[in-house]
Symmetry: C2
Subunit: 602 residues, 2 copies
């Protein structure tokens, strides 16, 4: 990992950044009553040479059946960064580039103690020590019940310096350096905690910061599993209005300014925001730095903790450009430098955080593989310490197999620059995938619908002039007789990367809009598409407004689900371009154009 340290920008390292402020009043009752593992207090004796260790309960590594684990891994530059469209998608494979692999082995025992080895990686969680500054130990005494704090401090003081973090040391170091270099957090005392994947991390964060009866601010359309994790703990979502660029600062400010618990069944003003700021799931919206800054200031104003769940950060591929000539012109001619690459990504909330009120969730699911069940949380040291306690009494650390294999690949094979090169290739792959699906959708116009781009970057699909007049005056254009014969049926904002297109269906244009519940129309169209072999995710499933036990499973039949469409009668489908082939996407877009046209025919 020598190259990593060379990369770390000296200007950032030397920057005078503030320490996090005391935010311990956000800790939940549950978090405060977490107990440090009693065995931890003996660690001071663990390092002592000649110590006869009869205290633990560790099985001997001689009895682990794994002597070595090896992998053949794709080379870091397996995927081109300069590819020209999907025609070139498999180019690397034919050119023998992507097929090139490295082979490496993790042994049970290594001479060098620091090297990743199975004897420790597959043992009970190794402990490692991060740099970490600040007087947060002192602060803990004010936070925890008297005895707990005393015990905690005793434990902490017996450790080399200020805090432990479970996990494989080599991987933990890599993660800390990566976070420092790539996100450049605004506080000096941030910490990184390895976890067993984003969903588990979020479950621990929300129960560490919220009590039953509290609410979580969330984008009005959001990742339902995040809400499902909070719900059983008595923590309900409080939806925030969005536009094509994500949640709006105005919406958040207004909601918090006018919060009255009596209007929310006694729920106090929410202190936690759950947000997916980049290539949002499900809407695909990416928030600008400016908007993030405004939202951060609102969080400061109302003392809100921002949880930034950011799995698609490195899938930010930039604006969609339909015109082939313009698209080619915007495409990089050579692989961008690390600095160029990082500058092309909207800064994380971590970067603008000068108080330590941002909790960032990172995962290897989209950049390495979901099966790693491995990621990390970055936050202030007080929250980090409580999250480590939560890990100790549940998942302990993440799987040693995952930590060893991902750790070896990143920390000992690729290093920071190597991993950044890999991420550039991944980003280019998703750029081509995004382009393919959006291209294919716009080609619907070749069939039976007219497409056009509006000034706010939205693509719209209208019925052809040949159709009869709309039933509803509301849809009439002011421009003239010809346009009057058209109805707007679909629209979407082309996403700046990620995995999803959020297709808006304007049910108000449907002939039966006034005679049928809109959710019935949405359900009927979804089922019609599925029966014609196109499976998309119905938008109802992502609604923070209607979330609850009744909303489980596709659930078009719920009584209150009419809320999962907009006031204007718009419903949504989430379409993924992450795993289908180009041919499948084109075929799906064609079927959608065909079925939607038929569905809206009056």
């Amino acid at each position: 990992m020598d190259d990593s340290f060379a990369l770390a920008s000296p200007s950032y390292a030397a920057m005078d950044r503030p320490e996090s402020i005391d935010l311990s009043h956000h800790l939940s009752h549950l978090a405060k009553s977490r107990i440090a593992s009693p065995l931890k207090g003996m660690y001071k004796y663990f390092q002592r040479p000649g110590m006869l260790m009869l205290a633990g309960g560790l099985p001997p590594p001689e009895l682990f059946p794994f002597e070595t684990i090896s992998a053949t891994s794709l080379q870091r530059n397996s995927f081109k960064t300069t590819q020209v469209g999907f025609g070139q998608w498999l180019w690397n494979w034919f050119a023998g580039l992507a097929g090139k692999t490295d082979e490496w082995t993790i042994r049970k025992w290594e001479e060098e103690k620091d090297k990743i080895q199975l004897s420790s990686a597959l043992q009970y969680g190794a402990f490692c020590f991060h740099r970490c500054t600040g007087d947060w130990e002192k602060r803990m005494t004010a936070v925890l019940p008297k005895n707990g704090a005393r015990a905690l401090l005793r434990t902490l003081k017996s450790l080399p310096r200020a805090g432990t973090a479970a996990g494989l040391p080599a991987l933990a170091r890599f993660i800390y350096e990566f976070t420092s270099h790539v996100y450049r957090p605004g506080t000096s005392d941030f910490r990184t905690v390895i976890n067993a994947g984003s969903t588990d991390a979020w479950g621990k964060i929300v129960t560490t910061l919220c009590n039953p009866g509290d609410g979580v601010l969330a984008e009005e359309w959001t990742y339902p599993s995040a809400l499902a994790t909070a719900w059983p703990n008595g923590i309900k979502p409080v939806p925030l209005p969005m536009d094509g660029k994500g949640m709006t600062p105005e919406g958040m400010d207004e909601l918090l300014a006018n919060w009255n618990p009596d209007e929310h069944e006694g729920m106090p003003r929410p202190r936690l925001l759950y947000t997916i700021p980049v290539c949002q799931n499900p809407t695909g919206a990416t928030m600008s730095l400016e908007r993030k800054k405004r939202i951060y200031e609102i969080a400061v104003k109302y003392d809100v903790i921002i949880v930034e769940d950011d799995p698609y950060y490195f899938l930010q591929t930039g604006e969609y450009e339909h015109d082939e000539a313009l698209r080619a012109a915007a495409r990089p001619k050579v692989t961008e430098s690390d600095d160029e690459f990082l500058k092309s990504l909207v800064p994380s909330y971590l970067n603008i955080d000068y108080q330590g009120r941002v909790v960032r969730i990172d995962t290897f699911s989209k950049t390495i593989c979901p099966g790693s069940r491995l990621g990390w949380t970055t936050c202030n040291p007080i929250f980090a310490e409580r999250l480590e306690r939560a890990n100790e009494s549940s998942t302990q650390s993440a799987s040693g197999f995952a930590q060893a294999l991902v750790g070896k690949l990143l920390a000992e094979e690729w290093g920071l620059t190597g991993y950044l090169r890999w991420l550039k290739g991944i980003k280019a792959q998703y750029r081509d995938r995004r382009n393919t699906l959006v291209d294919a959708l716009l080609d619907i116009s070749h069939a039976s619908l007219d497409a056009r781009k509006t000034s706010n970057g939205t693509y719209e699909f209208w019925t052809r002039g040949s159709g009869s007049l709309s039933e509803k005056g509301t849809m009439r254009s002011e421009k003239g007789a010809v346009e009057l014969r058209k109805r707007r049926i679909l629209s979407f904002v082309a996403p700046q990367g990620g995995m999803f297109v959020w297709l808006r269906v304007h049910f108000a244009s449907h002939p039966e809009y006034n005679s049928k519940p809109t959710t019935d129309l949405l359900g009927a169209l979804w089922e019609d598409l599925a029966e014609h072999n196109v499976l998309v995710a119905p938008g109802t499933m992502f609604s923070a407004r209607t979330f609850g036990p009744g909303d489980a499973a596709p659930g078009f039949a719920q009584a209150d689900e009419h809320l999962a469409v907009t006031e204007d009668g718009d419903g949504f489908f989430r379409m993924s371009f992450s795993s289908a082939t180009p041919e499948q996407m084109k075929e799906a877009a064609k079927i959608i154009g065909d079925r939607v046209t038929k569905f809206f025919k009056d």
Copy 2:
């Protein structure tokens, strides 16, 4: 896995076993309000040929950097089952037996769909379908809030048959067959759920079955991390009395019969028992089948759910025999058959469970490696379904790396008979380790203490006759003048395997017993041992009686810790024989004998 099926006893398979009874009234509020992942409802379309899948958010396996993962694994017969003491401990290595390894590879893609492959193992949790009978779906409707049940049933009905279980299909099948064959559960509709290790499994079980304010019955000396997991959820331990053979049926019956919430700060009569019945942590006690049966009947009587945490099950090595000739005679001459091996292990609570009120926790931590963070829970289908929901919104399934590597080794390399052979070798290893430590402890007598075995199987250490009279009349023997000059200082019951010896220190024999708090004496002796390079675990840390935030970290200084010794002034040290070398154990025993003698000198 062909051999596995051949092994499955036909008599057991054909046995007419009852279905589990309805125990859904045990579900906690939290468990009842868990929500099925909304995406699950679309699964019926997932299997359809030709479906264009744009619904999910899966990264394409082409972008996983791992093309193959290989391992060299020790052969199943690497460890002898017939070894003669620790002198032979490394025999296999010299003979080249243990060094023999198999090599195998998991590829990203395999022709055979059923074979373990990285493209699916490293993807978001594969779903698989177990056999499972019973009308438990119907029962769910009575349990869950109306809408939740409806949604759940809809989901379940869209699946091939009765329930899903997250995890790699090959591993999940192996685990189900292993459970069926090895434990022979008494109910026909038991299910197995893969989890991310025992601690995480227990956390989910206790919050699925207990509400805040509830209590958990636990052995008075127990695994503190289990209590630390329950505690922050407002669930407190209720200690049960033990003797040398584990918790006593009488103690449990008496406690439950006379339960008065007013005497327990309003806590209702506990409905959950957490027990480690085999080679218990920390006491090493192993419960007999007869005692298990009596405890099970008490559980039936008071409607208690038994959670059996059983990590040491395959480390049951049988009674300790000090006499070398007798020990050699008892030792197997050839490797025991699978039936002989399984019959040598005390049956699991699962086996005697005819109502489905046993929840068994299994782990690969002691038999494969702790770093797998992989295990499984066996229980009735209603509990299993709720535990799967808990997994979905947290760890999802266990790490795909761990599932693939352990799954491949067990299901595709070793099979059931191969794994049983491996377990026989592990058991023999722990037998030799146990013998080594107990032998070494008894050799203390060569130094300055006298050892003797009492009729109840306890070994005791007494001061030599040369010491002066005990200060306390209570310790005087009735046998005569010579014995009067002796004081009993240490004692222990030789464990039937596992990892631990529970050393009892009779502080009442200490000259300063009346002038100093007993915990101070315990602390002073522990620190003296540590300063002389022997690290053992102080028994205070395993006390369910004094557990709480104040008890974190070694904690000899807590005001109420005098409770962590018995009424007779006995304190405890837990000594582990799992990972030290024979030389280290002998050296440690020598130091203990030496220091204890000095410590008790008056």
